[in-house]
Amino acid sequence: MNQNLSDDESRLMIQNQHFLNQNSLAEYIECDALARISFVNCTFENIELGGTVFGSCRFQNCIFNNFNARKAKFSSCCFEECKITNSDITRAGFYETHFKNCEFLGVDLAASDFDSCKFKGTRFFKSNLDFILVEEVTVWKSNEWFKIEDFSSFKKHLDQ
């Protein structure tokens, strides 16, 4: 297993791993949460983590395919250079979560909440954003941060 502690002793770093079902992640889940873990160059495929909390996790250069995180909560997380495809992330909550250079393709995000999130270089393709709620969201565009006031401006900034 390619893992070590980074940043501080409480943060676990997992690199170059392929998680092919939720059982492969079970050892890292405590209190229904993946907490304070950095995933680098990892693949998550056919994973069902509905209702799970992702607390203070970092995902760098990761691939998510057929990833079910319905009603999951992403709190103080960071996604960088990640690709999320063909996934169900409906009714999820994203709080103080940052996305940098990420792609969503064929992802159902319906009725999810984005609160105090930041998006930089992140794009959505063929994804369902119906009924999402955005609050205190900022998007990096043209070398400055834009504060998003409502859903329509969120789509305007991201769907280009």
């Binding site: 949460a33 993946l34 509905g50 209702g51 992702f54 009714r91 103080e96 009725a111 009924f131 709620l133």
Partner: protein
């Protein structure tokens, strides 16, 4: 025995029907959907809701609320929330106080009441959506704090804390 496990008056079959994840094909249970069933069964046994059922898969794809109910008026739909206490928040790596968590839940509840209004088979108005907040995962010394902040969060968002039912407050 905690009230939420007192399901003697609920048949196993009924519990299974209420615990199934309505958006999945076949019979599929998740920890979340089972938690929702425990809460709705307790609410039913305490006469807080009438005849709860899961929405059919087609409806739940658009009107994504946890249960349909036959009342009491004005409720036609119910959604379940399961807040946690500060110890669990810390273990989960969430950098948020229990007060802020509860306040945000209160705001979310108000938004969710309005989210699916007017859709086919959806609530006719926001007041038709009730929210059950099950405090079973909140320690005794934090239950009042969570309750108060949820109500304050709801009032801060459109000014109303109506339609919020708390379970396991003691």
């Amino acid at each position: 025995m905690p009230k939420r496990f007192d399901t003697n008056k609920c048949s196993a079959q009924n519990f299974k029907e209420l615990a199934v994840d309505p958006r999945r094909s076949g019979t599929h249970y998740t920890r979340t959907s089972i938690d929702e069933a425990r809460a709705i069964v307790q609410a039913k046994l305490e006469n807080l809701v009438i005849e709860p059922t899961r929405p059919n898969p087609l409806t739940s794809k658009s009107v994504d609320l946890d249960y349909e109910v036959q009342g009491p008026a004005p409720f036609t739909h119910i959604d379940v929330k399961n807040p946690v206490g500060s110890e669990i928040l810390a273990k989960q790596g969430q950098n948020i106080t229990v007060e802020d968590m509860a306040y945000k839940i209160g705001k979310e509840i108000v938004n969710q009441k309005e989210r699916f209004v007017g859709l086919k088979d959806g609530p006719a108005s926001a007041e038709n959506v009730g929210h059950i907040v099950d405090l079973c995962y909140v320690p005794v010394n934090e239950k009042a704090i969570v309750r108060q902040n949820i109500l304050e969060g709801a009032r801060s968002n459109k000014g109303s804390d109506a339609g919020i039912i708390f379970l396991n407050e003691k």
